[in-house]
Subunit: 294 residues, 5 copies
């Protein structure tokens, strides 16, 4: 995620980091060249058809329907994903407090908290399709087919053992089982978002309509706007292809693009929160590097 | 569901799989032919009335209202259906952990987990109106009038027996009964979506307005656009009829269209998740065939 | 509710059942006649003022704001009502399972289930302002001022008696009381929707703007469109008055219009679901009559 | 709240009660006069600038953004407020049933129910900033700084005493404490809506843009529309100023405007629902006076 | 937060306090000057290109997509933040009542309530990045790396001690642990909003498009509107830059801008609510200063 303050005037003109400019520059150049050719052709030959604004508005309706819908849907996915990770962080903190209230055996408590951090890291690595490291949180479950589920099973097993050892009573077992179910639900929600992309057909419709819109723009402008047409085309291509690109990134919130969620940073925040409950020193929070928080 | 990566330039131009092109090609051809006839007639006779853009915009307002609303409503149905199946998967995983924490008798535990998989498959087959197989999960309940309800009744009966045998205490009975109620709610939500289609009158309004819009387009364009009119008509028909088609598919998320939900794959994921709790080997996850996940 | 498959080409042209055509035909005819008069007057006299499209667009903005908002709000009411009835069905199924797990006395169980069906039918009849029958579910509570509340009170009384007889323990009493509270909440939600219509002022604004829009249309079209104007007026009146009519019906989801919810059918589904728990034969599900499900 | 059936043709033309016409008539008259002056000036002098529709559309975009947003936000506040009062009604009904199931002492039960009605009335009067009466529900708490909180504290105290007297066990105490927390949450939600108005800056933007739009309309119309301009201006001012007025009323759902919520009627409904549990005769429901329900 | 009544006619014309005018005045002046130069240049030379409205509408589509989306997203953040603080206030009130019902030891009760106020203030100061004071609520936790978490840990520790001293039973421990988890969730939600700004790329797109729109406006207007062009440009710049500014402020609801949430006032409301439970006199509620509530 890009962490920057609100842009000042100079940044509005020049900011590239955090912008989608790099990704869409090739397309913008192509559409600018096409616009130049159209203007040149129009000046030299009578072959270029002119679109009136009524005909062109037809595409505007389609484009705003598709882009508007896709932008909302993609942002909702991104924000729902963020909510679920925020929910996981809240669950881990509550879990740490609740084991202290309900579980009498301290070794059992530390085991459960450590396993819950294993779960969080395994969940993060599975979502991002990262290779599992050999050491550190989550490493013990890297060989499992479903590492996050396996880690949560281990927490649940520890709870089951605590119950049979009577170091937790019925009230505590119920409360902690509900807490694990809440983590499990957040995990399943994240997997749902990761495994159910926006229907592919919308991507096709959005990209096809955006391209068509940019392609036809010179025909609609050339008569009145003349040699300003290529500049216009570049700006419009930046706007619409840029938005299409942003929505593509936001709709995959667990990827590693600039707009993906800062899962590393959230995992670190969970470690910091659980440290006092485990009697270990808290690590430092992650800081953004070049405005980017991983 | 179609599983494809984001389209590159070549796919934007050519992708058919995952597109709605096949379904709407006949209509597009008809509208193109009509546009050709209108242009020809306009060149040869003075009979063709010309629509000014103001008159035509009137339909644009109606069309964007109807298509925009229906698209949002259809996508919400699809996504709500997906959420409920994601919730069912989460419930089954939590159920498996909670029976381990709260139920002492292992045979009873395996019976309950196996019955819950019966429930999931029966629910899937009932939603898709599939014939029940003779063996496999869900088969035992195929003869019931309401197979999914019958299977969930069986899980609940097993819980009741466990309670009378005292292999589960009051806390466990309460926690597990709440878990079953959650599954039951997700099931009822899916049935609601399946049994309450979008009001039929919207389908009529959307299709009638889209058709009218495409039908009148040549009259609005012919004067200025000439022989480009049929190409325009084809592109516009693709955009709007395509969107109407997509929303039709998405609004029936449990069907077997290309955009329907991958229920087989989710059921398999549940089997994989429950396998370690039942001490049986986990099956392989389902893989998409030709980008299609059933 | 109208239950029809997706319309094919022929139905798009001709479907009347499930359409709003019958309700809006008189208004359409009036606007067509007005349009004819305007064209005739315009041909014979120079008295008819011509509206340019800029002036006319002003009404388009208002109309799309009002219709778009009202359509969303009405559909949300309809869908929220449907969700609450789906929730009631789920609650009754869970209630039936939970009394089996937690209540030992079978006579008490059957009494509670039978009373819960009384509640559902009383709630349905109260929402639809139907007279109560002399026999059948709900009949016993027809003389009460608030039949649905009285029936739910009776279920709660049965639970209280079961608790004092010790045929249900504390866990069961808590679980079942929560279930009754959930039914009670769904009931209150339905009453809220029934008793709080959309603010009347929106109806006025929508109908007044739609009428004005259709009334002024001939003045905007007559100059360019000539004798096609009445046809246009008819189509546009169908679109906008039709949508206004649909939103009126959907915003009263418990009425008896074609787009109202199929409460009879949902009550029957509840009877079918509870039959095995009451050891009585299940009735047949309701089937749509002429595409209409009551 | 205005309770009227759907408007028929005659009412569409004439309804004033439930309309916003009275509030906006002065502004409409002003804009009509301005439009008359502009037309007269345009006929007599060449001084009046003419706006082309492109320039005017710029304001249309702004206006539809501001009005559309504010309308949705205001309606959401109104509907959320209604949901919370519906939730309070449901909570009081469930509370009455649950005290019967869980509290053994009848005097204690009646005390708790009576105090809960005190709470509801105190909450209503605090929200509407009404003076507290000397007798009747809520009167005992009128001298408190936060009457609704004080009344709910009293219910909670009664529960605490019941617990120490052992007339309610742990299960009952937990269930009833959750019920009180639910009432408390609905109360806090209503206070949030009452104390956090829509950001003032939106009111400024909406009113300023609406005024500007109506003010400039004659300049955009005068050239083509001539003496119809004042009529147009009046109709457009009615549409947009009327909507701005409606959203102002809806965004203050606890006020005493025509579109405010019928809190008196809901409090009365709660009294009716609790009467059988308190063994007192139920009062009559409130009826609308002149279509207005207070 | 600005607390003002609805603006009357005079305020609509003149209100500055609560308006965004001060922030956007420099930009408005720049665009007005540019517009003056364009008109002058157009009168003196033939060099100024004229944009037709079709070309200009292209930017209108982009602008309304970006501004509309960002406005909704920013308001949703603001309102969600407000809901969470409303939820915290409700939680503290319920917490105070529940400790009275479930905790027998009065000293323990007062300790828990006092610590919960520490938590609320620490949470407020952490969100606003304020320095911690030396005395008063929250001061004791100022040296912690995560003060709000530390304070909530302290409440939880007190609950744990009460449980080991048997001054709270299993039911009470469960109920109070759930209450603390609810506070913890609201805290995590606020931190999520504070730490996950709207994607930076939207800010760039909105500001760049708004600037471009205002910059090109004179070219679209100059031909028809002449010397009214600078006035138009100023008004349009006020509308769109003002909205961009408002959404920037609303999207940071915990800042100290005029539209930020009144956290001081909510904390004070919590102190007032808890005072009777702690047997201390209640402080005065905060009053707005110059329409501003901190």
């Amino acid at each position: 995620m890009i962490i920057r303050d609100r842009p000042d005037t100079w940044q509005i003109l020049t900011a590239v980091r955090g912008s989608v400019l790099p990704q869409v520059t090739p397309s913008i150049l192509i559409f600018t060249l096409i616009a130049c050719s159209v203007v040149a052709l129009d000046r030299l030959t009578p072959l270029v058809p002119h679109l009136n604004s009524g005909a062109y508005t037809v595409f505007g309706i389609g484009l705003s329907l598709f882009l508007g819908f896709r932008n909302n849907a993609a942002y909702d996915r991104w924000w729902e994903a963020r909510k679920n990770w925020g929910g996981l962080l809240a669950d881990l903190r509550s879990f740490a407090r609740e084991v202290e209230v309900f579980v009498d055996d301290e070794a059992r408590r530390r085991e459960m908290l450590s396993l819950s951090l294993d779960f969080l890291h395994a969940h993060r690595m599975a979502l991002r399709r990262l290779p599992f490291p050999d050491t550190g949180y989550g490493a013990a479950f890297g060989s499992s087919a479903a590492p996050a589920c396996a880690a949560l099973n281990a927490v649940s097993d520890a709870l089951g053992r605590a119950r049979h050892e009577a170091s937790v009573d019925g009230f505590g077992a119920m409360r902690l089982a509900e807490r694990l179910a809440s983590m499990n639900l957040h995990q399943a929600n994240c997997e749902r978002i990761a495994n159910s992309p926006l229907p592919f057909v919308y991507s096709l419709l959005v990209y096809r309509t955006s391209w068509l819109y940019c392609l036809l723009l010179p025909l609609a402008l050339v008569q009145d706007t003349g040699w300003l047409t290529p500049i216009f085309s570049a700006v419009v291509a930046y706007m619409f292809l840029g938005l299409a690109e942003v929505t593509e990134e936001l709709s995959h919130p667990f990827g590693r693009s600039k707009n993906a969620l800062p899962l590393d940073s959230i995992c670190r925040a969970a470690e910091i929160s659980l440290a006092p409950h485990m009697n270990i020193p808290a690590p430092e929070p992650l800081a953004p590097k070049g405005h980017y928080l991983s």
